[in-house]
Amino acid sequence: MTSSHSNILYRWPTDDLLCWLLRGLAAIAGLVVVFIVVFLIAETLPVLSHVGLERFFTDPSWHPAEGFYNLTPMLWGTLFTMAGSVLIATPLGILSAIFCHYYAPPILTRPYRRLIELLAGIPSVVYGFWGLVVLVPLIGEIHPPGPSLLSGILILTIMILPTIALMADASLANVPQHYLRGAAALGLPRWATIRGVVFPTAKSGLFTGVILETGRAIGETMAILMVCGNVVQTPSSFFDPIRTLTANIALEMSYALGDHRAALFVSGLVLMTMIAALTMAAEWISRGRIYG
């Protein structure tokens, strides 16, 4: 029996094996999410069945020990911090990547990129601690009390900036050189090249970067917990303290019992729904135009 025989005629089922192995691994990855959702729903069912879902949005306040479960202010808290930080970080990150690729002198690019990578590697609790002892007192001087939506947005911006900056950097690096040369041959100025050639080509990478940073902004807990003040209220100004859904879980988890604990799982479920909605919205916006 020759080797070509074994390859072609008596195909040993390596392909099948690999295929099943990959199917299995993919199933595990998918099942993790399914299990998390099932677990969340199972944990929240008791409280949902005797309190009811709508009370989590219509109760007068969040005082779970006294039977009030309104999550809406925290939903707003999460949305505002997320929106604020993404709105600031996205242009900053993309423009810094543009600068790095097309404007910066070569001697600056490498150290600059290392710096951004370093920024990405700093643990969130360090940002939080810095925010608590430096940023919060500073904001408190301008407009008391200090811990506020503003400080949350600023800290989050710094934290998600490297995500978008590095993603943008990578997707700009993937723009084919001959596009750029073609643009140069047409005599396009640099900014026109960037706007007309680079952005459309790098669109999918930039979009992925925005999704990733948004996900990180929603999920961030520790730093937010330290600088936002954690008062459950819908903010009316940037200087109002707020509490996010993630901070809510982290703050009350260790001492919560019974319904209170289940209510925290509802916070988790709401977060999960938010992220699912975000992903679906992203899919819908792109609708195959961006990926592909």
Partner: protein, 300 residues
């Protein structure tokens, strides 16, 4: 039956969390053999050889006490290698219920014993005091209970109204479920819904950082933590309550009003392993652990 299921459902999650957090006991047995715990634990505790202690001690109850008892348990385990101490949280009422039903050898109760709990044997291991603190630059050195209540309920919003400088007060309170909050609310006879905070914090250290960073803040934290930070030069001042200075000393000699005893309880008069553990927890050998956890030992 439903109640029983809920208990075990709850307990499994808590013991799991505790195994992760407190690193007491093995994760797997805690998870798998939960229903067996009570019986195996109790029987083991009773069949102890007089010279060498062995067996497993199950301790359940107040989450305030759990880290302390877990630490004491760790040291007790290292002194008695054949002993295992499993600490599970679930609140003071669970501690009482588990001890009554024989599900736990020892219960943890983070308050004074109630009248209908006289059937249990209670042993105080430490006290916990809650002190009101302001920034060191704040000229205020005393507030009456009424003023504190007015500040926390939002009726007084400027330091000027209590004899301080013209500045808005930043009210720092604790997150729901924290025991410090409960002690505070209990003493001032408030409900958490009455409190109008500007900052809500999780643990004591965070509260101290906030107050030290904001000259117009007022907060309350566990006295042990505050005293330690004050001695380290952190810019905070503890205010006296009713003229009694807030210090571990005044908590210890029972003159400081905002405090509570921390108890461990048993159903019958403790024998063998449980007795040895309780004696150890009350002994001077455990004082440094108690101080480490920012509680106040019973006496010097």
């Amino acid at each position: 039956m439903n109640d029983l299921n809920r208990r075990y459902g709850d307990a499994s999650i808590y013991s799991f969390l505790d195994a992760c957090r407190l690193k007491v006991g093995n994760l797997l047995p805690v998870f798998l053999m939960l229903p067996l715990f009570g019986w195996s634990g109790t029987s083991a505790a009773q069949t102890t050889a007089p010279d060498q202690l062995s067996g497993k001690l199950v301790v359940t109850g107040a989450s305030t006490l759990a880290p302390l008892i877990a630490e004491i348990g760790k040291r007790f385990e290292s002194l008695n290698p054949k002993v295992r101490v499993d600490v599970q949280t679930g609140g003071s009422s669970r501690g009482v219920a588990d001890v009554r039903q024989g599900l736990a050898d020892i219960g943890m109760v983070s308050r004074a014993m109630k009248d209908d709990e006289k059937d249990l044997h209670a042993f105080a291991v430490a006290s916990d005091g809650v002190g009101i603190l302001v920034h060191k630059d704040n000229p205020i050195r005393a507030l009456t209970d009424e003023q504190i209540i007015a500040i926390y309920t939002g009726k007084i919003t400027n330091w000027k109204e209590v004899g301080g400088k013209e500045a808005a007060i930043t009210v720092v309170s604790k997150a729901e479920g924290r025991s410090t909050l409960e002690v505070f609310l209990h003493y001032f006879k408030l409900k958490n819904t009455d409190i109008k905070p500007h900052v809500v914090i999780g643990d004591n250290e965070q509260g101290i950082k906030i107050v030290a960073g904001n000259r117009h803040a007022i907060g309350y934290v566990s006295i042990g933590t505050a005293e330690y930070n004050e001695s380290q030069g952190v810019r905070i001042t503890l205010l006296p309550i009713d003229g009694v200075p807030a210090s571990t000393k005044s908590v210890q000699n029972d003159t400081f009003p905002i405090s509570r005893p921390l108890h461990i309880v048993t159903r019958t008069a403790p024998t063998g392993l449980a007795k040895a553990f309780i004696e150890y927890a009350q002994s001077k050998a455990a004082y440094d652990i108690i101080a480490q956890q920012y509680f106040v030992p019973l006496a010097d």
